[in-house]
């Protein structure tokens, strides 16, 4: 199909339409709102044969999504920021009940102070909920990743919900060219969801999300870890198959000029584009730098990362989030798991623009470190 020009929110909605979820409970919130609007329009026009549930909050949106998933149908929802915070309790329930939900999160800062702009604190705050988290770099990846997310979530050895993370405004509201797929192409890649294990069926009654006393709880949680580990293979398999079919291959990470790099810049989401641009600029000046983009934040592919960074001297980790006293979440993970000299940089909070100068500064402060974690672009007098 020909390229069209659209926002990532539109590309995500188009992918959802092609994935044919049967129930879509969704509550609008900036900058996710246009996803919920496009889906409402598709349902109203008869282009998407789904029950669109207008709920009264995000807590209800994810609850209805979980309920529908447990009834054995494919589902979709989307949210952002405060909405994701309100979902927090049910996110853990959804993962624990092994519901193959796909949800888009339009990454936005958390209040207070109130801020509608982009950072990744909202999804990072849900890191331990048991959801797979995939971060996308552009509208094309948003479209492609939604389709892959259903294959990953519904894989019988995974059965975990997937959160597809899109940088608010920077992706959600930016129009750019996207290659859409035809329905027949998507149908050949993504078959209808047929629930296999625990789901509500009057012919085969069971109760779900039950009480588990100390005899069972630990094993139930451990099974999630086993599934999360398995999902690494599945994410790679699905991404490779997508590449074979449609020419755009995906994995757990993406590396650029890392083989001979002395310093590797590590980041997630839309920032990777600007970092790639800066890497090119610095390479022209003879600086050996590379980019490692983490697509799958959970599961965290540290063995693959270890292999990619093995020749590098130092890592410069760029985080649009932070954990008090530690630094960015990605920085903390890399520090814990990779045996490299690692420096963390906090930037892009609450929509502060990530400009090439900040990335150049991160490289400079990794060459000549002053401290382990630096806040870039900080106005000291405010």
């Amino acid at each position: 199909m020909a390229k069209e020009i659209m926002t990532t929110n539109r590309a995500v909605a188009e992918a959802v339409k092609l994935a044919k979820p049967q129930v879509v409970p969704v509550y609008p919130i900036t900058p996710q709102t246009t996803i919920s609007e496009y889906l409402a329009q598709f349902v109203a026009d008869g282009d998407l044969d789904a029950e669109y549930i207008r709920v009264e909050s995000e807590h209800s949106a994810i609850s209805a999504t979980l309920g529908a998933s447990e009834a054995g149908v494919r589902v979709f929802t989307a949210t952002s920021s405060q909405g994701l915070m309100l979902m927090h309790e049910i996110l853990f329930a959804a993962a624990g009940m092994r519901a193959p939900i796909v949800m888009a999160d339009a990454n936005r800062a958390i209040s207070a102070p109130l801020n509608i702009w982009n950072d990744q604190q909202d999804s990072i705050a849900q890191r331990d909920a048991g959801w797979i988290q995939l971060y996308v770099e552009n509208a094309q990846e948003g479209f492609d990743t939604i389709l892959q997310a259903y294959r990953i979530a519904e894989h019988e050895e995974v059965m975990l919900p997937v959160m597809v993370c899109l940088d608010g405004f920077i992706l959600t509201h930016t129009v750019e060219p996207v290659d859409l797929l035809e329905q027949a192409e998507v149908d050949s890649f993504l078959e209808p969801y047929v629930p296999k294990f625990a789901y509500l069926d009057p012919e085969r009654p069971m109760s779900l999300g039950n009480f588990a006393d100390p005899t069972y709880y630990t094993e139930a949680r451990h099974n999630m870890q086993v599934a999360m580990d398995k999902s690494m293979e599945v994410i790679k398999e699905v991404g490779a198959e997508f590449g074979e079919r449609f020419g755009r291959e995906y994995g757990l990470t993406e590396s650029y000029l890392c083989d001979d790099a002395e310093i590797i810049l590590v980041c997630m989401g839309s920032m990777a584009s600007t970092v790639r641009y800066v890497v090119d600029q610095l390479r022209e000046k003879g600086e050996k730098v590379g980019l490692l983009k983490i697509r799958s934040y959970r599961p965290f592919p540290f063995e693959e990362i270890d292999e990619i960074v093995k020749n590098a001297d130092k890592l410069a980790v760029l985080d649009k989030n932070f954990s008090f006293g530690i630094g960015g979440a990605l920085f903390a993970d890399l520090k814990a798991k990779c045996h490299k000299e690692t420096y963390g940089f906090i930037l892009g909070l609450g929509g502060r623009d990530v400009i090439p100068e900040y990335i150049e500064e991160a490289v400079e402060l990794t060459k000549n470190p002053v401290k382990e974690v630096t806040w870039l672009g900080l106005k000291e007098d405010e």
């Binding site: 390229k3 020009i5 900036t30 509608i116 405004f169 920077i170 509201h173 930016t174 129009v175 750019e176 060219p177 839309s270 920032m271 584009s273 600007t274 790639r276 641009y277 623009d353 990530v354 400009i355 090439p356």
Partner: protein, 172 residues
């Protein structure tokens, strides 16, 4: 790569203008990108939007600080916002105004509001100023622009906007 910055107020269609321009450039066979920067979400608040046009795919994910062209939808912003900020040498500024704007920069004043009131009956100038921009800069073809305007606003509103954009193009 050509970078364009739009200044408007919430509700004036600056964001839509940036998107229409990106879509028209894409129709011309180029790569393009458009995105907004909202202040607070309310009508009347100053808004910026950006368009990038290139012959190669665009990988930049930050705002436009050194525009080749600036488009100002509301001359009331001139006393509120530095619309000339970072303008490239030989950069052009197109301002919707019925007055002569004094500036050290290359400024084109166009009475888009006059055309809007005459043809559309409302003071919405975003498509009109794009018509003027197309002729003045040659960055986008008027054919693609008119097509995208009609696609964006189906029916009589699109037809009227297309006529208004063409009028601005012809007088530029």
């Amino acid at each position: 790569m050509i970078e364009i910055r739009f200044h408007g107020r919430g509700g004036q269609g600056a964001v839509t203008a940036a998107e229409i321009l990106a879509k028209a450039a894409f129709k011309d066979g180029k790569y393009s990108q458009a995105f907004p920067f909202f202040g607070v979400e309310r009508r009347g608040a100053p808004v910026m939007a950006f368009t990038r046009i290139n012959t190669e795919p665009i990988n930049l994910r930050y705002q436009v600080y050194n525009p080749d062209h600036v488009i100002v939808l509301d001359d009331g912003l001139l006393s509120v916002v530095d619309v000339y900020s970072g303008l490239k040498e030989n950069g052009e500024v197109i301002i919707n105004t019925h007055e002569k704007v004094e500036s050290e920069y290359d400024v084109f004043d166009v009475d888009a509001t006059g055309i809007a009131l005459e043809i559309l009956g409302v003071n919405i100038v975003n498509t009109i100023i794009l018509g003027y921009f197309a002729k003045k800069t040659g960055e986008v073809s008027i054919g693609s622009l008119i097509e995208v305007i009609k696609e964006t606003f189906p029916g009589p509103i699109g037809e009227k906007n297309a006529i208004a954009a063409q009028k601005a193009y012809d007088m530029a």
